[in-house]
């Protein structure tokens, strides 16, 4: 372990703590995850390609990625508004709202799933008012969108909020003094500052939504080719003991997650270097 050290230190415990951390993490995470790739390599390329481009799989990607993207964009808009309102305005109940924004993180996904279904079902709290208008939410792709929007809610708020807090008001004052109206100041001064954080938040909400399972399956209706998300398709294949099918789709999802995680890291790096330049 000590060979890895770049500079000597008087502090104890390096070998012990790093050794334990690496051992534990490899055992729990790295070895099992790499097993997924090893398992895929037992499939021929044609077999793999057939599984991952099968019409049912393609329809599930379309729904999963489409609904995740729309949900993340909706959260981009409303998340920015919520962050703005929380940072800039004082109103009663503000600290309660601030604490509650994280509810979708803390609430188990199964609870979110059955609750959203109960609300948006045709006889539900909100669903009964949408039904006469001809809008069906539960058990349709729209239900998937609702669930994925719910679980992505905190991300944009929590990435935009700290940037807004650190924003120097003097720059805005200067803009106003130079004759800009509020909207111009917002577009030319505030938005460029928020942009990296906003994109990071949207990307995080999207990444979370793509893999989401628990909150979606209750409200989705789970009709193959129509309202079936990819994680559910993996689950179905597993239940039918179609391990190769589940593995191939799992690898696709895992690669997407890696690419998204990389993109988020780059976005975070971009926004932190922007901050350092100032």
């Amino acid at each position: 372990m000590h060979l890895l050290l770049k500079q000597p230190s008087v502090l104890p415990g390096f070998g012990l703590t790093l050794g334990f951390a690496l051992f534990y993490f490899s055992l729990i995470v790295l070895i099992p995850l790499s097993g997924l790739f090893v398992r895929t390599s037992t499939l021929s390329w044609e077999q793999f390609w057939d599984i991952v481009t099968n019409p049912r799989a393609m329809a599930s990607y379309q729904l999963t990625f489409g609904a995740s993207l729309v949900g993340a964009l909706v959260n981009g808009i409303f998340g920015s508004i919520i962050a703005w309102v929380l940072v800039r305005y004082r109103f009663s109940g503000r600290s309660l709202v601030d604490a509650l924004v994280d509810l979708p993180f803390a609430l188990p996904t199964a609870v979110a799933g059955i609750t959203l279904t109960a609300i948006y079902a045709p006889n539900g709290w909100i669903g009964r008012y949408l039904e006469p208008l001809g809008i069906k939410v539960a058990f349709t792709p729209l239900g998937v969108l609702i669930a994925l929007t719910f679980i992505g809610l905190p991300f944009v708020v929590r990435t935009v909020q700290p940037v807004l807090q650190d924003l120097d008001k003097e720059v805005e004052e200067a803009a106003t003094m130079l004759g800009a109206n509020r909207w111009q100041t917002f577009r030319a001064v505030i938005v460029p500052e928020l942009w990296p954080a906003l994109l990071t938040g949207i990307a995080m909400a999207f990444a979370r939504a793509v893999g989401e399972y628990g909150s979606v399956i209750f409200i989705a209706g789970n009709m193959p080719l129509k309202s079936e998300i990819t994680p559910l398709l993996i689950m179905t294949k597993l239940e039918q003991y179609d391990y190769s099918g589940a593995t191939a789709l799992g690898v696709v999802m895992l690669l997407v997650s890696f690419v998204l995680a990389l993109a988020i890291n780059l976005l975070q790096w971009w926004s932190s270097t922007r901050h350092m330049q100032q």
Binding site: L11, A99, P108, V111
Partner: protein, 293 residues
């Protein structure tokens, strides 16, 4: 004197008016925020408890007082009692090595630790089925020796530990990095043993973040659904955790009981959020004190 304060007040007001929106815009934005939060947070929160109490308090309590529900609660507590301490030890160890030493591959390790959060819960379960399941690599050997991992407690534990690995570490790493190593170096130079240094210097410095990480880890461990659902097999009274019990009840059209069990998990989420708010205030005032000193 008075006129000076009045002018100063006016100055503040005038400056404020430069960087704020008209009342109309402000009200519109606050209303938009509240509308969105009402649809996605307030109504669901109220709905959980209303649905759970639909058949009155006795119906609510009956939902817990049966063998299956109690077994699910016991299993969930057991899973958290194993997963949370293990991941807390991992979190402290990893954060110590990462924050206090410079070593090769450090940045890669920091990125890797967050990986379980990026992976779909279904895949977190799938990887263990591929290892230990009937058709998995170790499946035949395990069957020969009559060891059950998938569709049994060990599988549930593994899947839960997997999805909750990063929580303590990701709270501690940035904090311990910002604290530097001077205090610990002083303790060691003055003759403290490694353990004394940890208990008297490091632990007091990180206790609130450690507690916060443990609370988050616990909330996720008790609430995990997707990963556990893959490895559990849904055997009533044996491998059903609380979230899985909610699913079974709901699919049996026993909505009241499903929401009753769900309301317990919701209370856990509310406690978690309150603890988060409290700890954030505590650490904010602690850093203020430190900077004043």
């Amino acid at each position: 004197m008075n006129s000076v304060t009045i002018i100063a007040d006016k100055d503040v007001q005038w400056k404020e008016s430069l960087t704020t929106e008209s009342t109309l815009v402000r009200r519109l934005l606050i209303s938009a925020a509240f509308l969105y939060l009402t649809l996605f947070l307030f109504i669901p929160l109220v709905a959980i408890f209303t649905e759970a109490l639909k058949h009155g308090l006795s119906g609510y309590i009956d939902s817990f007082l049966n063998e299956d529900a109690l077994a699910a609660i016991r299993l969930t507590l057991l899973v958290a009692a194993v997963a949370v301490p293990l991941n807390a030890v991992f979190g402290v160890a990893a954060a110590w090595a990462i924050a206090k030493f410079e070593f090769v591959g450090k940045q890669a390790l920091i990125t890797l630790i967050d990986m379980p959060l990026a992976v779909s819960p279904v895949i977190s379960g799938l990887i263990y089925v591929l290892l230990f399941g009937a058709q998995g690599w170790l499946g035949p050997w395990l069957a020969e020796h009559d060891i059950k991992i998938i569709f049994a407690l060990p599988g549930i534990l593994l899947a839960t530990i997997f999805v909750t690995v990063p929580f303590v570490a990701r709270e501690l790493i940035p904090l311990m990095q910002s604290q530097g190593r001077e205090e610990e170096e002083a303790a060691i130079t003055l003759g403290a043993s490694g353990w004394q240094m940890f208990v008297r210097v490091t632990l007091p410095n990180i206790k609130w973040s450690l507690l916060y990480g443990v609370i988050l880890c616990n909330a996720r461990a008790m609430g995990e659904f997707g990963a556990v659902s893959v490895v559990s097999g849904h055997i009533r009274g044996l491998t059903n955790t609380m979230p899985l019990h909610v699913e079974i009840l709901y699919n049996e059209y026993n909505a009241v009981s499903a929401f009753a069990v769900a309301s317990l998990l919701t209370l856990l989420a509310i406690v978690t959020l309150s603890a988060k708010t409290l700890i954030e205030r505590k650490t904010a005032s602690a850093t203020r004190l430190k900077s004043q000193r």
